[in-house]
């Protein structure tokens, strides 16, 4: 009985399926955050894992798989976003822009103590400039290092650090400014 050769083939698929199960949700959410579209985001998940499978020999450090796959997905989502943006008529662009919907009566001081504080921060992140939003996504959500971000964005590490610093400063200013919450609709998707 030669179960071995078939088993090996099946095991490759099962092992990769485990990797897929482990990371597909975060890849999807990142793509959706950028694209705001389910089908495009699922396409990004598919393309990401196919690319990872085909390029797995280029991954030198095995413990870097997670960061590596997020970098692939981020790049693919950004590429798709840029393609979609070119394809969309100008008047449709507004439909993909995320809006803030916060009651103007809420004050930051109150919110700071409430559960909504985190949501408020998330909304203010949405209001940041595109380059600040993407660096926050890469650093805080995808947990990439400065080095990894510099590869994704094709920037020097020093530039990554200073951009992240400026993004945080911008956010700090917004969190201190009570009027910032009523400025809905300023957000721009990545």
């Amino acid at each position: 009985m030669n179960l071995f050769s078939n088993k090996k083939k099946n095991d490759t698929s099962k092992m990769f399926h485990i990797l897929f199960d482990t990371y597909n949700a975060k890849v999807y959410r990142t793509a959706f955050y950028i694209l705001k579209n389910e089908q495009d985001s699922k396409d990004v998940v598919q393309e990401t894992f196919i690319k990872a499978y085909n390029k797995i020999d280029s991954l030198k450090e095995y413990d870097k798989f997670e960061g590596w796959i997020y970098r692939i997905s981020f790049n693919l989502a950004i590429q798709k976003y840029k393609t979609n943006k070119r394809e969309l008529p100008v008047e449709d662009l507004g439909k993909v822009i995320s809006y803030i919907d916060v009651k103007t009566s809420d004050l930051p001081e109150k919110i700071l103590e409430a559960k909504e504080h985190k949501e408020y921060i998330a909304q203010e992140i949405n209001n940041l400039k595109i380059e600040y939003k993407e660096i926050i996504l890469l650093y805080y959500y995808l947990d990439l290092s400065y080095e990894e971000i510099s590869e994704v964005l094709n920037l020097k590490i020093g530039t990554v650090k200073s951009r992240l610093f400026r993004a945080k400063e911008e956010l700090r200013k917004k969190l201190r400014d009570p009027n910032s919450m009523i400025n809905s609709g300023r957000g721009e998707v990545l």
Binding site: F32, Q46, N54, D57, L59
Partner: protein
């Protein structure tokens, strides 16, 4: 990765995680099917994918996943299990801190090869038990050993009956700190726990009649899978 964290950092992290975790993830079966199709056209070696999986601590669940698409598991060590039912999913979680260091040299190649039962006993880097009696009609068919450098990661022993029923026993050493999460879709399987002396058997019965029993003894995990429930219970009683 060492990141200096201040209050604003943790607020931003929590805020963005909250925002993204609100995004519900749709079913991904179709996506996986397409990926699998692509994998068939570009047949990669098992070794590299396995190394990646080993490093992220999922390799030793391989046996558990055989033919069980509704089970997802991520392991490092199992000692106790907490079972919780959520909607249609039975979630089995466990975690345990161990002082046993994982001694894997990542420069080494991983190897998977077929051996006889005697060779398996001889080559394995850890001690394990085998059934000292087999149900009537069952014969040893094949043993497959997975090695990473000098470390045996898992051993699979396959028995086949004269009616062509198969029983697989996956034997894995529990390495390092262990965390496990198994999600069993209760539409497709049931879960129960059975204690016998010092051993706790975790029994997952699938609607397609397959049965999987997981237990650990002396730092080694055993997963026994097959169709015939009676035969499987007989086997686990004789693993000594």
């Amino acid at each position: 990765m060492n990141k200096k964290v201040d209050i604003l950092d943790s607020n931003i992290k929590e805020g963005i995680e909250l925002e993204l975790n609100k995004i519900s993830v749709p079913q991904m079966e179709d996506v996986w099917e397409n990926i699998e199709k692509e994998m068939k056209t570009n047949n990669k070696t098992f070794t590299r994918i396995k190394k990646v999986a080993i490093f992220i601590g999922v390799s030793i669940v391989l046996g558990l996943l055989i033919g069980t698409t509704d089970i997802y598991a991520q392991y490092q060590k199992v000692l106790s299990l907490i079972v919780r039912t959520m909607d249609s999913t039975i979630n089995i979680q466990s975690q345990n801190k161990s002082n046993t260091p994982i001694d894997l040299d990542m420069e080494q190649e991983s190897k998977t090869y077929s051996v006889t039962l005697d060779e398996a006993l001889d080559k394995s880097s850890f001690k394990f038990m085998l059934p000292n009696v087999m149900p009537k009609g069952y014969m040893f068919a094949e043993a497959i050993i997975n090695e990473f450098g000098k470390q045996t990661i898992s051993l699979e022993i396959i028995y086949v009956s004269n009616k062509n029923d198969t029983i697989n026993i996956i034997i894995e050493p529990l390495l390092g700190d262990y965390v496990e999460s198994i999600n069993v879709n209760s539409n497709h399987a049931t879960y129960e726990k059975f204690k016998n002396g010092d051993l706790t058997y975790n029994i997952i019965k699938f609607k397609d009649n397959r049965i999987l029993i997981i237990f650990d003894h002396d730092g080694v995990k055993y997963s026994v899978e097959g169709i015939n429930e009676e035969d499987i219970f007989e086997i686990i009683q004789h693993i000594k």
